[in-house]
């Protein structure tokens, strides 16, 4: 969720009321934003000899792009509190239509195909407004525009450039200009090198770096306005004295392009000589059927079912009353002439988050107040509860193991490749383990295929615990399985580990016997006559274990024979690999025996 910092007392002034922190918190809670911090009583930074005025840091829901600046927060809260009506945003004809054109060249399709523009006429900037304008662009770039990959904004002093403009894509070397806040002209190849190490801009370079052509916005006289999505030109820089602002927005996503442009211009059209008006720009882009005039700013009219609104919220309000309530959330609604069950709702251009009538319904609930909605009985129908069978089976193993004196642990499911294979003297056959593509650390490389790494790490981290340690876990491992939709499956395992002065081999063996006894599975020998169901063990030669002291567990269930797991004394090299030397015991190694079986077979 984005957090927006606003000047506390200026906001209260805009809202026409002084609030206590608690009162403002309550207002935020009711509206669905969150007061994160009030810096009134904090140590505030001193900039140019002046202490920063108290700030309110407000968390805004990720879909409310119209509240990412001071202007939007003040506007929406004022509408919500009934102080002002929803603004009527208008697109007014420009003085000189010839100038207000961006000609798009087909090459741009190779790198960043879309552009839109608008002009804010006779805007009055103050320091606060200017900073808010920059900050809004920043927030839009970070959130909706996904770090400028989808959309980027360039704003210019219109009086320093002349239309018609062109949007082109050229080889990097052919684009030369002085970038914003620089003095030296460079071509864009040099520019990429220049900003390589820049903390702020460096992270956007990758968006176009490898493209054979870079996008560029020129004015009539070939002055570079911007090299999107990296940087604007110094020439057309906006200052506090700028009155006419040319906004160009480039994008790879058409929907987000329109949203971003709408947000930038609606929020700051408030400061135009004629508030809430914007002058349009014609985009000539025939090669991709995108010739059009931007922005539109037309509200979207949608039909909302009255019975849906009332039934979801538990209200029974008249259409008129619903319309009145909805005006608090910036909607203009009126009952339909044609259908008594329909409310015609006009959604302002500032609310692109409204996709479906459910969004209007939620806003109705907010207007009413969530905590004031009528409560209804939640039990409409009787249902029958029940556990998942593998969990029920797992719980049998868990309780039996605990009753046998073992302690349950819950290590992590992700582990390193070495922990799962090399450290256990096991080989990765490439067909078993699920491997992660983008872990942040070596600790999380794969989904474990065995519960042993977690148990051994738990022993390692409990070096000062008294011996013997007797721990177990019942949980899932993950395995590749090409036959399934998800190409993988979970498998529920039981595993236990003993660490003590003696090997504990017979003890883990005894635990196996005990657990299987509890599942009505009897101990048999493989050759036993009549082939009854039951389990038997066979000597196992695997490098995980100390030779001669390991066994595979075999099960015959309903006549079907399979190996379900193994147990044994761990090979001393495994103890070394996991660094199991006990600190409290003079860094001695103590033997560890483990047991691991698959539970799914008992389902």
């Amino acid at each position: 969720m984005p957090t927006i910092s606003v000047d506390k007392y200026k906001l209260y002034e805009a809202l026409g009321q002084k609030f206590t922190t608690e009162e403002f918190e309550d207002l935020c809670f009711e509206y669905g934003i969150e007061l994160d911090e009030d810096t009134e009583n904090e140590e505030r930074p001193i900039v140019n000899g002046e202490q920063e005025p108290p700030q309110l840091k407000i968390e805004i829901p990720a879909n409310r792009y119209d509240m990412l600046c001071f202007e939007g927060i003040a506007l929406n809260l004022n509408i919500f509190r009934g102080r002002i009506p929803t603004p009527n945003y208008r697109v007014v004809a420009p003085k000189d239509e010839e100038q207000y054109v961006i000609n798009v060249l087909p090459e741009t399709a190779q790198v960043r195909p879309l552009i839109a523009g608008a002009v804010l006429r006779n805007v009055k900037f103050t320091k606060d407004r200017y900073e808010s304008f920059i900050s809004l662009q920043d927030k839009l770039h970070q959130n909706l525009a996904r770090q400028r990959t989808l959309v980027s904004i360039g704003t210019h002093d219109l009086d320093t450039v002349q239309g018609p403009f062109t949007y082109e894509a050229l080889p990097p070397r052919d684009i030369k200009f002085v970038p914003l806040n620089q003095t030296k002209e460079m071509n864009s190849e040099e520019l990429m090198a220049f900003y390589e190490k820049d903390k702020h801009l460096g992270r956007y370079l990758h968006i176009i770096r490898d493209s054979p052509v870079y996008p560029v916005v020129y004015d009539k006289n070939k002055i570079v306005c911007s090299l999107p999505p990296i940087i604007n030109g110094e020439h057309s820089k906006i200052t506090l004295n700028t009155t006419n602002v040319f906004v160009e927005v480039t994008a790879t996503d058409a929907t987000k392009l329109e949203i971003v442009l709408d947000m930038v211009v609606t929020m700051f059209s408030e400061y135009a000589a004629e508030p809430f008006t914007v002058e349009p720009v014609k985009i000539v882009s025939d090669h991709n059927d995108s010739t059009r005039v931007t922005p539109s700013l037309r509200p979207r009219i949608t039909s909302v079912e009255i019975d849906y609104l009332n039934s979801c919220t538990g209200l029974s309000e008249s259409p008129e009353s619903l319309a009145k309530l909805l005006s608090k959330m910036a909607y203009i609604a009126k009952p339909s002439d044609k259908d008594a069950n329909i409310l015609e709702v006009s959604i302002p251009a500032t609310r692109p988050d409204v996709l479906h009538q459910c969004d209007v319904m939620e806003d109705l609930a907010v207007c009413w107040g969530y905590n004031n909605l009528p409560r209804t009985e939640p039990n409409r129908s009787a249902t029958v509860g029940g556990p998942l069978l593998i969990n029920k089976l797992g719980d049998i193993f868990r309780t039996e193991a605990a009753m046998a004196g073992w302690s349950e642990v819950m290590p992590l499911i992700l582990c390193s490749h070495d922990e799962n294979f090399a450290w256990l003297n096991r080989k990765d056959d490439g067909k078993t383990a699920i491997k992660l593509a983008n872990p942040k650390t070596l600790e999380y490389q794969i989904v474990r295929t065995s519960l042993l790494p977690g148990l051994l790490k738990t022993i390692r981290e409990n070096k000062s615990h008294s011996l013997p340690m007797k721990i177990f876990e019942v949980a899932d491992v993950g395995l590749k399985d090409e036959s399934l939709e998800r190409r993988a499956r979970n498998e529920r395992h039981f595993a236990a580990a003993w660490c003590g002065r003696s090997s504990g081999f017979e003890i883990v063996h005894g635990l196996l016997d005990r657990l299987l006894l509890m599942l009505r599975t009897s101990f048999i020998t493989r050759e036993q006559a009549g082939k009854p169901d039951g389990y038997w063990i066979e000597e196992l030669k695997e490098d995980t274990y100390f030779h001669g002291h390991a066994a595979a567990v075999h099960l015959r269930l309903n006549g079907k024979e399979q190996r379900i797991g193994e147990f044994g004394i761990l090979h001393p090299s495994v103890l070394e690999n996991f660094d199991l030397r006990q600190v409290s015991h003079f860094r001695n190694l103590y033997p560890v025996s483990t047991l691991e079986i698959n539970l799914e077979v008992f389902l």
């Binding site: 669905g32 538990g314 479906h356 969530y370 249902t383 491997k435 593509a437």
Partner: protein, 512 residues
């Protein structure tokens, strides 16, 4: 009086018994002045535990004479010594002669000053020191001798001596002991436990049993134990069962982007689908298109519906209007929430027919592990448990969801909930659930809830008027609050302390 020899500590109990046989009651400091008080106490405790003696502790203040005071007690005060020397010298003494005679410059100087002050001596015609009285009374010496013998003295006089740094007062432990019920001259062998041999031989009838120490803990049980987090999980599961919820098959860590995001109406450019937040899988990399969960289901239709609703809008929604990518949808991820399973369960439900021919109402829950590509810190791990509940029914209202949440959380002793509007891509309305936390003195978020969006439900084929509540919370957070744990790594993972697991009490969520 008993012996003044220093007995060895091993013999001490016997010596105490012998002393007591001669004189009872007895004061330890008088009978055994040289034995340190702590040794005496250890011996007395042994004897008292067998009821051979009883004793009382007497706190006493004891006056200790400083070396200078010891000298005064033996030889007299400085002024008295000066007086004596001066008196004996018939001709009087010069200051130099006084020093030589006394042999201690300090004594001579201090004593001279005081003797003058007491008007015992004065200066003769030739300036020599002469006695002015015939005899004096050396009260300082008398007082110190008295204190040295352990007798009490006038309080103001003692204070004066303290000021003069001649004495100091310290507390001493002293014991008054008397014969006990089972007094004897020797300690008898005591049995610590009743054994089967004693029962067989009948020795129990005559044996002396050591009294049980009722102030100590019993023997360690070396008990097995369940993990605290799983104990809390058990409580949650019980609550769900009580309320008619069926447990969902969440034993699937790997999901396609389709089930984890697309079906939930999470757009493909949503930040949650970033490499920064979600674990993608390198091997296997790509999953398959959805398969039918119930015979007769057309998963291809579902797939197309999901695509439509994102790309162009459908079911009364304008959609996100972006080119939806099948490749993105088939990428495999580690599930970031169990809602992917809830979705599959609802898709299955859509194909079921109740008595009225429509999908029947249902309640589902799960508590299982989810994965986030988080940077690990005190409150974040790459894995945690999500508690999730789903109610599907006709005619559900927001007020019903709030009422249900009140009931659900009341079972954990959490009441007076507050609901805050929130944003979540797949629920609308969305509500964050808050509860007032007494300890923190503020509202604390305890969960998230909402009604699933029609864009999520209708592509499955669920009827438009079937509404579905969903809510979720982490299992770790309430557990950490309950057990006052500030670091999640102390609760989940291999770094958890085994002693914490073993000593963790039963959960009893309804109790504070």
């Amino acid at each position: 009086m008993a012996t003044q020899n220093t007995p060895s500590s091993g013999d001490l109990p016997t010596q105490l018994l012998q002393a007591l046989s001669i004189q009872s009651p007895l004061v330890s400091s008088e009978a055994f002045p040289a034995v340190p008080a702590l040794e005496i106490k250890a011996a007395l405790d042994r004897l008292a535990s067998r009821s051979m003696i009883t004793y009382q502790t007497i706190d006493k203040e004891e006056v200790i004479l400083e070396p200078e005071a010891e000298q005064i007690a033996a030889q007299g005060s400085h002024e008295a010594r000066v007086f004596e020397v001066v008196r004996q010298a018939l001709e009087g003494l010069t200051i130099q002669e006084l020093e030589t005679t006394i042999g201690d410059k300090n004594v001579a100087n201090v004593g001279r000053g005081r003797a003058f002050k007491e008007k015992w001596i004065g200066k003769g015609k030739d300036g020599k020191l002469v006695a002015t009285v015939d005899s004096i009374k050396d009260t300082t010496q008398a007082l110190l001798q008295q204190l040295k013998e352990g007798k009490s003295a006038d309080a103001s006089a003692v204070t004066d001596l303290k000021k003069r740094k001649l004495i100091k007062v310290q507390k001493v432990l002293n014991f008054k002991l008397e014969k006990g019920e089972k007094f004897a001259l020797e300690m008898v062998k005591e049995e610590t436990d009743l054994t089967s041999e004693m029962l067989a031989s009948g020795a129990w009838k005559t044996a002396n049993f050591k009294p049980y120490n009722f102030n100590a803990l019993g023997a360690d049980q070396d008990a097995g134990s369940l993990h605290p987090l799983n104990k809390v999980r058990h409580e949650f599961r019980q609550i769900f069962f009580e309320m008619g919820f069926e447990e969902m098959p969440t034993n699937k860590f790997v999901e396609t982007g389709f089930w984890n995001f697309d079906t939930l109406f999470v757009p493909q450019q949503h930040p949650a689908r970033d490499l920064q937040d979600t674990f993608f899988i390198a091997d296997p990399k790509v999953g398959g298109k959805p398969e039918a969960l119930v015979e007769g289901q057309d998963p291809e239709e579902y797939w197309q519906n999901v695509k439509e609703v994102h790309q162009n809008g459908k079911y009364g929604s304008i959609g996100y209007k972006y080119p939806w990518s099948a490749d993105e949808s088939l990428k495999l991820v580690l599930r970031t929430h169990t809602t992917s399973i809830s979705t599959a369960m609802l898709y299955k439900l859509a194909a079921q027919k109740g008595p009225d021919g429509r999908p029947p109402p249902a309640r589902y829950f799960s508590i299982d592990r989810v994965f986030r590509n988080e940077t690990v810190d005190a409150t974040h791990l790459a894995e945690f448990h999500q508690v999730e509940g789903v109610i599907a029914d006709y005619g559900l209202t927001l007020g019903g969801l709030m009422e249900f949440m009140e009931l659900f959380f009341a079972k954990m002793g959490i009441t007076n909930l507050k609901f805050k509007p929130a944003y979540n891509p797949y629920t609308e309305p969305s509500m964050e659930i808050f509860s007032y936390h007494e300890g923190l003195g503020k509202l604390v978020e305890i969960g998230n809830s909402g009604m699933f969006r029609p864009e999520m439900l209708e592509p499955m084929g669920l009827p438009k008027d079937m509404r579905v509540f969903g809510w979720g919370l982490s299992l770790e957070r309430p557990t950490m609050i309950k057990y006052k744990i500030s670091n999640i790594r102390e609760l989940l993972g291999h770094k958890v302390d085994l002693s914490f697991i073993k000593r963790n009490p039963a959960v009893r969520l309804e109790k504070e």
